[in-house]
């Protein structure tokens, strides 16, 4: 029988392959990745791994012996050049044609790079997405090096934390008037600004990068939108990712802020599914795309079942985390559409949570060193219940005793 081919050997691709096997699928499986490493965890790249606290092998999601034992033919360093959707054929970069019984696209997302015209092509300019990125950048992480981080989102802040912890001189520029402008409330942004300021990071909001200036092809300074020039040794761009949809688009699949799939991960082409960061999928009354490991795993497992005819519709339960210095941030839910934020101090010093509401309905929480608040909120959001905002703001009311109302169908 022709194999099931999974294009993309990241978190989603591996989860999909493993789930097919655990559901009893006996069809040959090809797991095809463009990167040279076997499937690995990306989150530590901007955290523990860059601190030097974690070996390369510990990043791997499975030991290399897992793949032959599970009957999963893993091909690394094997970019796919084209998908012939109607024929269900993959064309590999070396010209090999692979006829498939089914195809799953788990192509992930790729970092947005600084434009060439702004010096983005200079040596010493990095993005933080892949193991290759991390390894290329690692020699730059020496005490005293001057790093410019472009972008005040979570990746930029994690990179800043690692660099500051390693003794680098860190400047972070963000075009928007505050940090985390697209993803968090002003309270959370201010909390992280203060955290980084305490660790010596020079944060410049409402400041864009005009261009990078190099000598001999190597970056040496940055011109900023306020007219200043900053000498730098290297630069990390943390200006977001875009879903990797080029293969799907070329194959004629519907793409809408990601490869458009239904709740079973079915694309617009019969026999072709997709999962993970590369997809947009139905969520409540709209369509969203998520950049997150838990989502990649859960959606991929749903899609694996669907490919075997056992699928139940995917319901996203979004959550995220970030580690910066000694702070653990945990986020439950999606805050889009909130109209107010309730602050609740935690029990331990320095711990706090910010709860996002739309009217009476709890949408999301940002919990800083406050796992109890995070876990409480996650349970509530997943079951459509919301705490009374006044009680929430009153720390004398324990989390487990908050008055609740059902604000969404359970």
């Amino acid at each position: 029988m022709d194999p099931i081919a999974i294009v993309g050997a990241g978190q989603a691709g591996l989860a999909l392959a493993a789930k097919l096997r655990s559901l009893g699928c006996e069809t040959p499986i090809r797991l095809i990745g463009a990167e040279t490493a076997p499937p690995y965890q990306r989150p530590p790249l901007s955290k523990k791994y860059m601190l030097g606290d974690m070996s390369r092998e510990r990043l791997y999601l499975r030991p290399e012996s897992f793949y032959p034992e599970a009957g999963i033919a893993l091909a690394t360093g094997a970019p796919v050049a084209a998908v012939e959707a109607a024929a269900k054929v993959l064309v590999l970069a070396d010209g090999t044609r692979l006829a498939c019984s089914a195809i799953a696209l788990c192509t992930g997302a790729e970092p947005i790079r600084l434009p060439e015209a702004a010096g983005g092509g200079l040596n010493g300019v990095y993005t933080m997405r892949t193991l290759a990125d991390a390894e290329a950048m690692a020699p730059e992480f020496r005490p005293g090096q001057r790093v410019l981080i472009v972008g005040g989102g979570y990746i930029g802040l994690e990179a800043a934390a690692v660099a500051a912890a390693r003794g680098l001189q860190v400047t972070l520029v963000e075009m928007a008037p505050r940090l985390l402008a697209r993803v968090a409330c002003a309270e959370t942004a201010e909390w992280f600004r203060a955290l980084h300021a305490r660790h010596g990071v020079d944060i410049r909001t409402a400041t864009g990068l005009s261009e990078l200036v190099g000598t001999g092809g190597r970056v040496r300074a940055a011109r900023l939108s306020d007219g200043s020039e900053l000498p730098v040794d290297f630069v990390i761009a943390g200006i977001g990712v875009r879903p990797s949809t080029a293969l799907a688009e070329a194959a004629g699949l519907a793409v809408s802020n990601g490869i458009a799939v239904d709740a079973l991960g079915q694309t617009s082409a019969p026999g072709i599914h997709a999962a993970g960061d590369c997809t947009s999928f139905p969520h409540r009354s709209g369509r969203i795309r998520l950049e997150s490991v838990p989502h990649a795993i859960a959606q991929a497992e749903t899609v694996a079942a669907a490919m075997l005819g056992q699928g139940a519709p995917y319901v996203a339960r979004p959550w995220f985390w970030s580690d910066q210095y000694d702070v653990k941030l945990q986020i439950a839910g999606l805050n889009a559409g909130h109209d107010r934020v309730i602050r609740r101090p935690g029990e331990a010093p320095g711990s706090v949570s910010h709860w996002y509401f739309a009217g009476p309905a709890l949408l999301a929480v940002d919990a800083m060193n406050n796992p109890r608040a995070y876990m409480t909120a996650k349970r509530l959001i997943e079951t459509g219940r919301s705490p009374d905002p006044a009680a929430l703001a009153d720390v004398s009311v324990p989390l487990k005793a908050l008055p609740l109302t059902q604000t969404e169908p359970a």
Binding site: E69, I297, K328, A348, R372
Partner: protein
């Protein structure tokens, strides 16, 4: 090399060789033990690598930190005297024979 036994929620026993220095969660993941999700990859940020430690072993494991205790308090059916997050237990040589049982669900 320490050998660790994982008992699935439906009673299946799987014994795996563990590499000292790796976490119990990583040991389970390497052995493809079903029922350990470890969504956060061992960052002590979720509670999806929850296990019940055999009572004879519980007190012999490294002590729990506050973050783990707080997450466990909200895990699915935690047991006050047996629950741990397997990502927070680094395997050592003296853990040969450790037995842990998996909960019926994670998260």
């Amino acid at each position: 090399m320490p050998r660790i036994t994982f008992v699935t929620a439906d009673g299946q026993e799987i014994t795996a060789d563990a590499t000292p220095g790796l976490s119990l969660m990583e040991t389970a993941r390497a052995a493809a033990i079903p029922g350990i999700l470890a969504e956060c990859g061992g960052a002590c940020s979720c509670s999806t690598c929850h296990v019940y430690v055999d009572p004879s072993w519980y007190d012999r494991l490294p002590a729990m930190k506050e973050m783990e205790a707080d997450l466990l308090d909200f895990a699915w059916e935690p047991h006050p005297d047996r629950s741990r997050l397997s990502c927070q237990i680094d395997v050592s040589e003296d853990m040969d024979g450790l037995r842990v049982t998996l909960p019926a669900q994670q998260g």
